[in-house]
């Protein structure tokens, strides 16, 4: 008996969904089915994506489903979205990684394979050191590096990672680039390695250091973007200290190239409302990223500009393919 009910409900389910799929496909307004949002990384990227998709779902009236397609430094997810139909039902939660994955030869296509929808947020890395070192700013660090025999050990997440590129750009601008040894370790362990004195300095996201700064265990020397960060308002930017570096990691949304303009506009306005919401702003302050909505056209120009910058930086580091 139980089996019969199961079969019956199965048939009904199949039939009704088939009717929706084929019958309803005629000329309804976008979106008429769930939107699949590919997420390329875990951690903060994933947390923001989950929050954003929930808020966007409320706006669009259809669920936006964050689907994790991680691996290969973003290569796997980008390849998936690129191969889908440009109808707005497959979007990607992208970042500067589109430039780095392309220029390191992991994917054969570049940012032009995607239509930008909107920039959502930025994260600005900061440089920290153990307070025992007695360094208060970048000048102290540069002086210490000049007078030391060996190399300064700087922790990064991995070769070619965003923290590596930022570090390289910062230390080159400071003129001490050739006295730095980069140490790769797992992304979350920077504070501990600094505390134990195994590395001398590290560039990571401000949220990781905040608690240590409060207790006075670590000193944050500089912010690598052109604006100070909300979690650590007392830390000056590198530019304020006379070092010309301005790097921040942006995150945004993009769809496969060729997605209709009205669909992009709809997604853009949903994203705008989501970013402006109280819940998003509160989460940003807690997690330590900045909401930074930007419309598609400006966003597109930003991606273009950044792409040239990373291409250059990677070939300087000998990592470009």
């Amino acid at each position: 008996m139980k089996l019969n009910t199961k079969i019956k409900s199965g048939f009904v389910g199949l039939l009704s969904s088939a009717v929706i799929a084929f019958g309803g496909a005629a000329h309804a307004e976008y979106p008429e089915k769930p939107v699949d949002m590919t997420v390329l990384f875990g951690g903060t990227a994933n947390t923001i994506a989950q929050l954003l998709s929930e808020l966007m779902s409320n706006e669009l009236g259809q669920p936006v489903i964050p689907v994790s397609r991680t691996g290969g430094g973003g290569a796997v997810g980008y390849s998936h979205v690129m191969s889908t139909a440009p109808d707005g039902y497959n979007i990607v939660w992208n970042s500067n990684s589109i430039s780095t994955t392309h220029h390191t030869g992991r994917v054969p296509f570049d940012h032009t394979a995607f239509t930008p929808i909107a920039r959502i947020s930025t994260e600005i890395p900061v440089l920290a050191a153990n307070s025992d070192k007695g360094w208060a700013n970048l000048a102290d660090l540069a002086a210490a590096v000049d007078s030391m025999d060996g190399k300064l050990k700087v922790g990064i997440s991995g070769k070619g990672s965003f923290t590596h590129l930022t570090s390289a750009a910062l230390f080159d601008a400071m003129g001490v680039g050739d006295k730095i040894a980069y140490i790769s370790y797992g992304s979350g362990k920077a504070p501990v390695e600094l505390l134990a004195g195994r590395i001398d300095a590290a560039i990571q996201w401000p949220g990781q250091f905040a608690s240590y700064v409060e207790t006075g265990d670590l000193n944050v020397l500089a912010v690598t973007g052109n604006e100070r960060v909300a979690v650590l308002p007392d830390v000056p930017t590198a530019q304020e200290q006379g070092v010309d570096v301005n790097i921040s990691m942006w995150r945004g949304l993009a769809a496969p190239a060729g997605t209709p303009a009205d669909v992009v506009a709809k997604l853009q306005s949903a994203a705008e409302t989501a970013v402006a919401s109280d819940q998003f702003q509160r989460a940003a302050a807690n997690i330590g990223f900045s909401p930074a909505f930007m419309k598609a056209e400006e966003f597109s120009a930003l991606i273009e500009k950044d792409d040239a910058f990373y291409a250059d930086l990677l070939s300087q580091l000998g990592m470009a393919k």
């Binding site: 079969i7 199965g10 199949l14 969904s17 929706i20 699949d36 889908t84």
Partner: protein
Amino acid sequence: MTNRAQDIIVGTVLFLVGAGWTWLVIDSIPPGFGDGEVGPRAFPMAFGLILTVFSAILLMTRIATGAETALAEASEDQDIPNRLDWGSALLVLGQIVLYGFLLEKIGFLLATPVVVLLVMIVSLRVRSLRKLLGMSLGLTVGCWLIFEKLLGIYLANGTWLNVG
């Protein structure tokens, strides 16, 4: 097949796998970037060499211990050597690969009944229509309700054809 013969075959195959792996690693991965750094090649190469060396030892000890130890061996390994059912194994592999492929192309709701039916008819030789329909639809709808609807897991949507 005796355990000894089986071990010789396994030893040979793994020896070749290890040697081939090591050669490919040396051929395709750059050694490193200097500075006393242990490059990306060292570990895969070392692991490949470990496999090669240990399979070679297995191979040689088994060849060296002649047939006269067969008696002792029977008491050493109490299990009777398992017979390998290659047919079932490859069939299951094929079904899993087909399932993965179909999940991506026609989505969970269509791929699951197709594969379950196939598995039951081909591998299990079930002919009862009731059982076939019950399992394929029951599993599909049950999993769909529990996972997609109740727990919110994303079950694949098809790229060729999309239901639900």
